[in-house]
Symmetry: C3
Subunit: 340 residues, 3 copies
């Protein structure tokens, strides 16, 4: 793509050479003459003059220099959009690798690619354009929409139904048994785990993350939701649309997370708790079982509290040594008064 | 099974139609006429009259209605028992998938099933009735009792010995090297990890969980213990019987957890700490290295304290703003007294 | 090896029989007559007289007994060194298992072993002496130095470059996509993840741990660094040399961890934060985004503070009930003064 093509795509204002050819993207420090970079005011100022990038996406007020730039309101977003267009969807040749084990009673749509040593079990249905990576697994009766991507070693158990364009990264597991126990006299028996998993369009699940099937009813993840690596989603969780969970977040059973909520890394949520829409939960926060967080709020700590309240508590805890001293001084003054 | 069969199995009192045929289980909301459901007082009252379930397991005092019910002391437990009986053990055809790699010098008992692209290494011994799932791995010399189940991608390294009916979920790893380091001048060398893993009967290990082999001696997990997903068990841990660990719990090296302890999600335990029998540890609690928790207690927080103490601390921390104000008021009054 | 060989290797003082043959190592409790054990003052005293070990590595001042001992300054270190020499490197036969899928356009050095059902993609380059375990995966174009070891099910994606003697344990993932999102109107799009991963010599990555590729530039892990199980390293992290991270540590994007830092279990680090050289971070500590920890310090808690400060805070929090009472008493005295 040329700089002019990119400017048109991101609806930016082109300054400099319209015909410079761009083949990939890089940081300002590392970019070369056929690469796109981006610069925002929060970046260091000296980076812009010194870059060798062929074209830089910049803030609107950035003064012209003897270099090719595209002025646009949100440089990071415009850069990401341009780079997605430049690199395309990463063409994978369709066809079934001869080493893969694909059951004769599985249904594969047009243009499906199945990588080396992948397994597709009987009754599985794989929509057109899906890419099933090396060592990936699609269980008996599992249903994948179109253009899904299972990276190397990702596993979808048989009771799962995925929408379109769902991406599972390496080692992600969808549809493993939930953790339901019944105490009998002196030992635990399993509560049967016979529900499924329903995953909406454009969901992405990170490397080695786990999404358990429901106990009776299904576990659900709404369209557009993104989970990072090593996330745990317990049975019967109901995750809304466009939710974001950073790495190592853990949800117990029956948790509800409403649309557009954002959970930072290592957050833990107890059984049946509810996280309202657009809630922001700070890193390592813990929400107790059956608790609810009101929509739109920011929360932090364990137990999770409104962020402002939590910050006040921390500030006061910082003042504790001073409070102890003040109390001591005051006692001395009272003693003096008593003595007089 | 008919409603009468189920009532007999769970020793409940049948009300309504004894011959209604039940084929599976569901929630009250979703159950249909050939499905079993259950209702307890803590469920919403309106659910019971409106369900379409063919039969409902209920509390003893539930008044009769024009529907088939089974009255029993613990409806959830009775439901689970009935459903386990209805669904059976999930018959898997025995035999070795032709795509699997099974070493000639491995020993397989009667009725063993080995799934597509599984690996069984030389000298491994697999007890009768075991199911080795697709992409599962049994290392050289590993020993599995009877009726074990390795789900897709589960891995048992060569120094491990599993009892009967052990279940490893997708991606679980048993017998990986422990994390033992020795500092030499300016870098770390490994402390050799040559111990094994011993796992008792009826143990279940969740998806993508890891149990490390011992350094010299073995890591041990007692019979009936249940681990959820993404749990880490460090080298030389000694886990008792019927212990429960929720998702993302992490145990460092040499930790002892006694029988019937329950560790909630994301709990972390330091090296050589000891968790007494029947201890309950709240979510995200952290126990420091070498510390001990007395049997039978409930603990929470980091560092872990008795639950009651922890709750008092939190309540007092909530009162800090008020205490600061009170101190200020008191100082003003003392100043007034001093001036008078 | 004989006791004399071992004494020479660890530069210790041999007491007893020089010719006793040692074949492996064990704990004092379990060791037999052909096994090496070690004893340090912190071990229980009665263990030493009662052991059946053929030879024991002990502290320098340990009095001679009727047994073979090697006196040395650091018994644990000497024991580890000896045991590493005794067990050797665990010889693996070189050659490609016939069930493995190795692309014709991959380059394999001399003495490489590729296990059953492993996958090596086109353009991958594997240095001499590497062992690629069962079900392991080496992506297109990935580069491994010499003598690396990929345990069963470990996965190296195509944009990764590993140094020499790198060890990935079961299920570890290197080079999965980073977690970069761009909000567009009402949904998230991906920020393209096109960077790589660079891993130095002698790095070890634990079971089911994940190291994401960089977004544009690379994620880097310096030589000699050791990561335990279930660790998450976000995109563009820059980890120094000889860093240690215990299990379940999570690093967000762009985090810098300098040489010789030690992160205990379940520590979480926010985006772009910096951990100085030789910092010690206590278990479950949390460092907020963009924060820095000065080199050489010990820190704990969330938000992470200097350890001493944190301990003082905890001690004061313990005294809160007493402070509340003291305040009440003081108020009563002031009231009395006011009344008089």
């Amino acid at each position: 793509m040329t700089a002019a093509d990119i400017a048109a795509l991101v609806q930016g204002e082109l300054v400099g050479c319209a015909t410079v050819e761009i083949r990939s993207g890089q940081t300002l420090e590392k970019a070369g003459p056929d690469q796109l970079a981006f610069w925002q005011r929060k970046h260091e100022t000296e980076l812009l003059p010194s870059t060798n990038a062929g074209c830089v996406v910049v803030d609107p007020e950035t003064p012209a220099e003897s270099r090719t730039m595209i002025r646009v309101r949100d440089p990071r977003r415009a850069f990401a959009r341009a780079l997605r267009a430049i690199i395309g969807t990463g063409q994978v040749e369709s066809g079934i690798d001869p080493s893969a084990s694909v059951d004769a009673a599985a249904t594969l749509g047009a243009g499906v690619a199945v990588g080396p040593l992948a397994v597709v079990e009987r009754g599985a249905s794989i929509g057109e354009g899906c890419v099933i990576g090396a060592h990936a697994y699609v269980g008996p009766g599992a249903i994948l929409g179109s253009d899904c991507r299972l990276h190397c070693g990702a596993r979808v158990h048989g009771t799962s139904r995925l929408g379109d364009r769902v991406v599972l990264h390496s080692g992600a597991v969808v549809g493993s048994d939930g953790f339901g126990l019944v105490f009998e006299d002196d030992h635990y028996e399993n509560f049967p785990q016979v529900g499924g998993v329903q995953i909406g369009d454009d969901v992405e699940i990170g490397a080695n993350s786990c999404v358990d099937r429901g106990a009776l009813d299904d576990t659900r993840i709404g369209a557009g939701t993104k989970l990072d690596n090593l996330v745990h989603i317990g049975h019967n969780c109901q995750i809304g649309r466009h939710v974001v969970m950073a790495a190592q977040v853990g949800l117990s059973g029956g948790v509800v997370v409403e649309d557009y909520a954002v959970l930072a890394g290592q957050v833990g949520i107890g059984d049946r708790a509810r996280v309202g829409a657009r809630v922001q939960l700070g890193g390592q926060a813990g929400l107790l079982p059956d608790k609810q967080l009101e929509a739109g709020g920011s929360y932090w700590g364990t137990p999770a509290r409104p962020l402002k309240e939590q910050l006040v508590r921390q500030a006061l805890a910082n003042r504790l040594p001073e409070l102890v001293k003040e109390l001591k001084r005051l006692r001395a003054r009272v003693e003096e008064l008593e003595a007089s």
